[in-house]
Point group: C2
Chain length 191, copies 2
DNA sequence: CGCATTCTGTACTTACAAGTACATAATGAA
DNA sequence: TTCATTATGTACTTGTAAGTACAGAATGCG
C-alpha cells in the first residue's frame, strides 16, 4: 500500500553500533552514519527518531547481545565457579590489545554529556541489574560448592565491579596475560 | 614590561576541571568556561593553547591531586593491608550517591572520541602506572604480613581493576554500603 | 612622558552537525 | 491505470562551538 523501505533497519543498527562504539556518541555524526550505511538522514529519522533514540536502540541491541551470551554461558551445567570463570575469561579479547581500545559501549556512553541522561541511565541500570541477577542466581544455585561464610550477593556485585574495571581499563590496551592473571586472582574469592 | 595577566591560571584550571568532570570534554564549551571563569577566549588560548591542551592540563592536575593523596595514605606506617583499605575506602564518597554520578575524570575522558587520543593515552597511562607502582611498592614492603604464595604484583593490578570498576559503575549512583561491602570482600585477597 | 610589549574584550569567521521542507519515486489497492 | 500512501534524496535552515582579527588597555622602562 506504500513504498517499502529500501534498507534493513538491523543492518543500520549494526553499522551504527560499530561507529558509536569506536568513536563515541557525540563524535559520531549522522552524516557519517549516512555515508557508511548508504541510508539518507530523513530515512534514519523516520525509522529511528532522533540521534538519541537511535543511540538508545543501538545500546539496547548491544546489551541484549552481551546478556544473551551471558545467559548461555552461565546456564551451563557443572560448577558455578567454572561457569563464571568462563564468562569472565570470554571478555579477555575485548579487554586487551587493539580490540580493547574501544572499551565497552555501555560504560563509555555513561559519560557522554550530551545524551539524555535519564533514559540512558535507565537502560544501563536495567542491563547491570540483569547481569548481576544472572551472576547471583548462578552463585546461589551453586552454594554447595562454597564455604559456609560465602556471600553470593556481595560476590555477584564484586564480579560486576571487576568486569567493569577490566573494560574501563581496556582503553589502555593491556596485555591479555595480565588480564588473565587478574581474573585468576579474583576467582580466589569464589571459595 | 608588559600588561600583567588579570587572572590566576590555577583558578581557571580548577573551574575547567569541575566543568569537564561534570559534563565531559566535548559537551563543555569554551564559551561556558569563559562565562564561569570571567576570562575571555583569547586569554584562554594565550594561556593554555587550544581546547585539547587545556583539557590535558586539567587532567594532569586531576591526576596529580589523586596521586598526592595516594602517596600520603599509602606512606602511612602500619600494615600495608590497612593502608590500602583506607585508600580504597577513601573513594567511597566519589563512587556512590549523587557525587558519584560524574565518575572519574580520567576514566571518562578515555572514551571521548574528539580528544587527541595519543596524548591522552600517554597521560592516563603514566597516571595508572604511577598509581599501580605505589600499590605494588607498598604491598612488597609489607610482604611479611601475607602468606607465602601472595603475589604483590598481580594484587596491585587487581586493586587497580577494582578501583576502576568502582569508579566506572559510580555513574549509576550505587549505595555507599554496597560499595563498602565490595571493598571489604576484595580485601580478602590481601592475605 | 612616550614607547615597546603583552594582555583583554568585542566581534567576527568558519566549520560542522542536527534536524527538516519538499519534490519525487515506488508500492498496493480500486 | 490512477490514486493514496509512505519512503527516498537533495538541498536547505539553524544552531552552536572552535578559533582569531583587531582595536584598545595596562604595565615597565628609558
Amino acid at each position: 500500500m506504500a513504498r517499502p523501505r529500501s534498507f534493513d533497519p538491523d543492518d543500520v543498527l549494526e553499522i551504527a553500533r560499530q561507529m558509536f562504539w569506536q568513536k563515541g556518541f557525540q563524535a559520531t555524526s549522522l552524516d557519517e552514519i549516512t555515508a557508511m550505511s548508504g541510508v539518507a538522514k530523513p530515512s534514519l529519522y523516520a525509522a529511528f527518531g532522533d540521534k538519541n533514540a537511535l543511540f538508545l536502540k543501538v545500546l539496547d541491541r548491544y546489551h541484549d547481545g552481551i546478556l544473551g551470551w551471558a545467559e548461555r554461558v552461565l546456564a551451563q551445567p557443572g560448577p558455578a565457579r567454572e561457569a563464571i570463570r568462563q564468562w569472565l575469561t570470554g571478555f579477555i579479547p575485548y579487554c586487551s590489545g587493539e580490540k580493547g581500545q574501544r572499551g565497552c559501549l555501555s560504560i563509555n556512553s555513561a559519560t557522554d554529556g550530551s545524551l539524555d541522561q535519564a533514559e540512558l541511565r535507565k537502560s544501563i541500570e536495567r542491563y547491570n541489574r540483569r547481569l548481576e541477577d544472572l551472576l547471583r542466581t548462578r552463585l546461589r544455585a551453586g552454594r554447595a560448592e562454597f564455604s559456609k561464610g560465602f556471600d553470593p550477593d556481595v560476590t555477584a556485585q564484586t564480579i560486576m565491579v571487576v568486569h567493569a574495571g577490566l573494560l574501563a581499563l581496556a582503553h589502555q590496551r593491556p596485555d591479555a596475560r595480565r588480564v588473565k592473571a587478574v581474573i585468576d586472582q579474583v576467582m580466589g574469592l569464589l571459595a
